[in-house]
Amino acid sequence: MPLPYDLDGVRTRTTMYVGFAEFDIVAAYIDGLNAATHDSLLLGFREWLVPRVGGGTNLVWSEIVLLYLAFPGVADPRAQLQEAGNHARAIECLFTNLEEFWAERYRSSGMRAIYLRFQAWLKRQEWYSPEFPDWIDDEGIGVKGIGPGGPG
């Protein structure tokens, strides 16, 4: 499935869309599209990324891509980004993952699988416990502050 909103064009002809082929500019363009679609474009992307890379729950999606996927294990990924050819590498990494996410999301039950995988990953983290602010009791299907069965 092709990426929506002509993102394949942004990927292959970046400077025609955003002027400069820089990672943060491309990420900001995608964030703008996401805002214009009331966050629906990237819905589930962070939840797809976190189990894949094994961390980054507190980071924005573009930072997860940069730190964990474009330059894994690099002490200073932002400095690395400035070296020749690395913006192109990071931008391609961004689109490769976005495309893979997009394909899974639009598979049958894709979005449900993404969130179930994210929930399973959370439950494996030592810090994720009932006192954690975003805790969801998925045994009783009770969201913190809302009893089983949901509101009402």
Binding site: G56, N58, L59, Y128
Partner: protein, 82 residues
């Protein structure tokens, strides 16, 4: 590699007690600047105990809530939950 604020909060809570709280943005997707840096956080989990905030920045000495909020670039646009 992750800033791992959740794990840090858990560890700090074992030492100072209190409860973990997650700071989120009331608008936008990022929390904005913190302590003169742009950490590109979507959220940040801290521990709040007896009027003080604890995270990897404050360490176990913590910081008064009022002072901690001043570290943020746009405190008025964040949901602190404390």
């Amino acid at each position: 590699m992750s800033s791992g604020c959740e794990a840090v909060a858990k560890e700090l809570q074992r030492i100072v007690g209190g409860k973990p709280v997650t700071i989120t943005a009331a608008r936008g997707a990022r929390l904005g600047g913190f302590a003169g840096r742009q950490p590109r956080w979507a959220s940040h989990t801290v521990v709040v105990s007896r009027g003080r905030v604890y995270d990897s920045y404050t360490g176990i000495q913590g910081m008064l809530i009022e002072d901690y909020k001043k570290l943020w670039q746009f405190p008025g646009d964040l949901n602190f939950g404390f």
